[in-house]
């Protein structure tokens, strides 16, 4: 149980022109499951490795429970880490792998045996204790790697993309196991991934990083609903949010937008009042674009041409072109929606769920 505080953590590698992580400030609360999410090279792994003590900190302070640990070696930080490649010792049995960290910490033999047995029971490894890692399946290796962390009962758990070597089905079940584990242990966990589904489903909060910097921190649904900028908007969600260039035109409340050839009047709850002529980015999630049959307040119809239809069974993705726009618009509609390619029709946008971003990509929030 611990609070991990990152204060303006920066890492600059030797002879690198740009910092790998820059001014990363984040507080991971006690018992929280914090997900560091971002694309390859965004600095999330570097940040995790600084927390672990595997990477030196160029500047900034890292503290655990209020104690600054910048200079404390990895082994003395009371942190356990689950690696992407599992990093099991191939020359040791499962039992030895599990007990190893404890043996290094001079825990008594009987106590080690007891804890190893307990963890093996929880993770279903009891029958595999005398095997070596090469005789295990990918999922079993993954569980040994988890077990090796749990058995130490550390203050903080770190995960470095632990599911990326598993196949799709196993990934889903292991995801559930880790989430259950977190609920049971109530421990502080920091989890690095580039997979937004993992982030959304497991995280208490998500910290989205890009280009070495923190972009947004918040509960998954908040981040999804209120992305701080176009990067987050385009990164979270599958398919991602539709983003199109727009200009504010003369209209009631300064909320009339020209998007391609269409004029849209945003409700006061969706956008602030802007001066006419302001260039903005208009964003709307695919699920907020639909069949005109679904009616409601603040829905606006736009004329489009359907260019592609992807039927996924439960739902259908319709990709449409709006007149006067290069970017296509993706709509998530019912599985049996009778759309055909080449068809010209109207799609309705739920403008209460619209997002606006300024020219630099930062979200424009409604007043009040």
């Amino acid at each position: 149980m611990a609070v991990v505080t990152l204060d303006r953590l920066t890492k600059i590698y030797d002879r690198a022109h740009a910092p790998a992580a820059e001014d990363v400030t984040l507080e991971v609360r006690d018992g929280e499951f914090m997900v560091l999410l971002g694309p390859s090279g965004c600095g999330k792994t570097t940040t995790l490795r600084m927390i672990a003590g595997l990477e030196s900190i160029t500047s900034g302070t890292l503290s655990i429970d209020g104690r600054v640990v910048n200079g404390v070696p990895a082994k003395d930080r009371d942190i356990a880490m689950v690696f992407q490649s599992y990093a099991l010792y191939p020359h040791m049995t499962v039992r030895e792998n599990l007990g190893f960290g404890l043996r290094r910490r001079a825990v008594e033999r009987a106590e080690i045996d007891r804890r190893v047995a307990a963890v093996a029971g929880v993770l279903g490894l009891a029958g595999l204790l005398d095997r070596k890692p090469h005789a295990l399946s990918g999922g079993q290796r993954q569980r040994v790697a988890l077990g090796r962390a749990i058995v130490r009962d550390p203050k903080v758990f770190l995960f470095d993309e632990p599911l990326s070597n598993l196949d799709a089905a196993l990934r889903v079940s292991t995801r559930g196991e880790i989430a259950a584990l977190h609920r049971r242990l109530q421990a502080t966990m920091i989890y690095v991934t580039h997979d937004q589904v993992e982030a959304m489903t497991m995280g208490t909060r998500i910290c989205i990083m890009n280009g070495g910097r923190v972009v947004q921190v918040g509960a998954p649904i908040d981040v999804y609903r209120r992305p701080a900028n176009t990067f987050v908007a385009g990164f979270l969600g599958n398919p991602p949010m539709n983003l199109m260039p727009a200009v504010v035109t003369d209209g009631p409340g300064g909320r009339r937008l020209r998007v391609g050839a269409a004029d849209l009047d945003l409700p006061a709850g969706a956008a602030p009042s802007l001066a006419p002529g302001t260039a903005v980015t208009f964003g709307i999630r695919p699920e907020d674009v639909g069949d005109p049959a679904t009616t409601g307040a603040h829905r606006a119809g736009v004329a489009v041409e359907i260019v592609q239809v992807e039927r996924l069974g439960a739902e259908t993705m319709a990709i449409a072109r709006m007149p006067g726009l290069e970017r296509t618009l993706v709509a998530r509609i019912a599985g049996d929606a009778p759309f055909t390619i080449g068809e010209r029709r109207t799609l309705s946008l739920d403008l209460t769920a619209a997002h606006l971003f300024d020219a630099s990509g930062v979200a424009l929030r409604p007043e009040g």
Partner: protein, 303 residues
């Protein structure tokens, strides 16, 4: 992860102490017993080096070397050796490897049996082949006589015309199995699909060999040729045990000549043999570099 390079530094400042501690023994041995001697040989080559006194002679040794007929004879012999033996070894090895690749029964036994010669020291091999080439009772002449070809029986190592080819034959006999094993491993690592694709493209065994197998094992083949070439440029033991460079310098190699000039001739001068060694070193280095440059893969092959 894209941000994790294959060789990662240790993070917590560069552990120079550890790096030095790990490398120090190896580097010390290397400097003391390889680098320093090599430099000293170069120094020797400009001197007359007698047991108790060195004397600077400038380029005199090099001038003498340029006119040293035995040296050039030795160079010629060694280069002939280094150019013929690898080709024989690797081509015979390829045939044998293909035979085993074609799933012949007992492939494992053949592989183990063919590999044996390379495990023996040149001393043992040399003595065995002295007997095999023996004029009176060696199996070669015995076989010729038995076939009624007694006229062809020959003192193989005693005749300047046949001595060198006979010894080259011995090295090829010795190393073919080694090359075969490496080539067989290369063949087994070829992607099955590519060979099956060639079958669908209507290639017979010959077609598969020329259009698929040889191009794909090219790197290994060239590697083996270079390796064998380097080995033959160093050849000493076999000659020393069998002919000592005789008859009439017909089998003299650079290595045996250096040894003779340094430790057998009563000149006691270590400067002149050092000059030979230096010149030979430059020749070997440039040919090997030239070979690697000429053989280097122009493009990476992706399976």
């Amino acid at each position: 992860m894209g941000e994790a390079p294959a060789h990662r530094d240790d993070g917590l400042r560069k552990p120079w102490g550890t790096i030095v501690a790990f490398l120090l023994p190896a580097v010390t041995i290397y400097v003391a017993l390889t680098a320093y001697p090599a430099v000293r040989t170069l120094w020797n080559s400009f001197h007359k080096v007698l047991p108790r006194r060195d004397e600077y002679v400038g380029l005199a040794n090099y001038v003498e070397l340029a006119g040293d007929e035995i040296f050039w004879k030795a160079v010629r012999n060694t280069i002939v050796w280094a150019c013929t033996s690898p080709l024989v070894e690797v081509s015979v090895a390829m045939l044998l490897a293909l035979a085993l690749y074609a799933k012949v029964p007992g492939a494992r036994f053949f592989r183990v049996a063919w590999f044996t010669p390379v495990l023996m020291s040149y001393v043992v091999v040399g003595i065995l082949w002295l007997w095999i080439y023996n004029y009176d009772w060696g199996p070669v002449n015995a076989a010729l006589r038995a076939l009624g070809l007694g006229a062809l029986a020959h003192p193989w190592l005693g005749d300047p015309a046949t001595a060198l080819p006979s010894l080259i034959f011995v090295t090829s006999w010795m190393w073919t199995g080694f090359n075969m094993v490496v080539l067989l491993a290369a063949l087994h690592s070829l992607p099955r699909e590519v060979i099956e694709a060639a079958e669908l493209d209507n290639c017979g065994w010959g077609g598969k060999l020329v259009f698929v197998i040889l191009p794909l094992t090219r790197a290994t083949v060239l590697n083996l040729i270079v390796l064998s070439f380097i080995g033959k440029m160093k050849i000493f033991d076999l000659v020393w045990i069998t002919t000592k460079g005789n008859p009439l310098w017909a089998t003299e190699t650079v290595s045996t000549y250096v040894y003779k000039r340094a430790f057998e001739w009563t000149t006691f001068d270590l400067g002149y043999p050092s000059t030979i060694a230096t010149v030979w070193f430059v020749i070997v280095l440039t040919t090997v570099l030239a070979m690697t440059w000429a053989f280097r893969r122009r493009e990476k092959l992706e399976f």
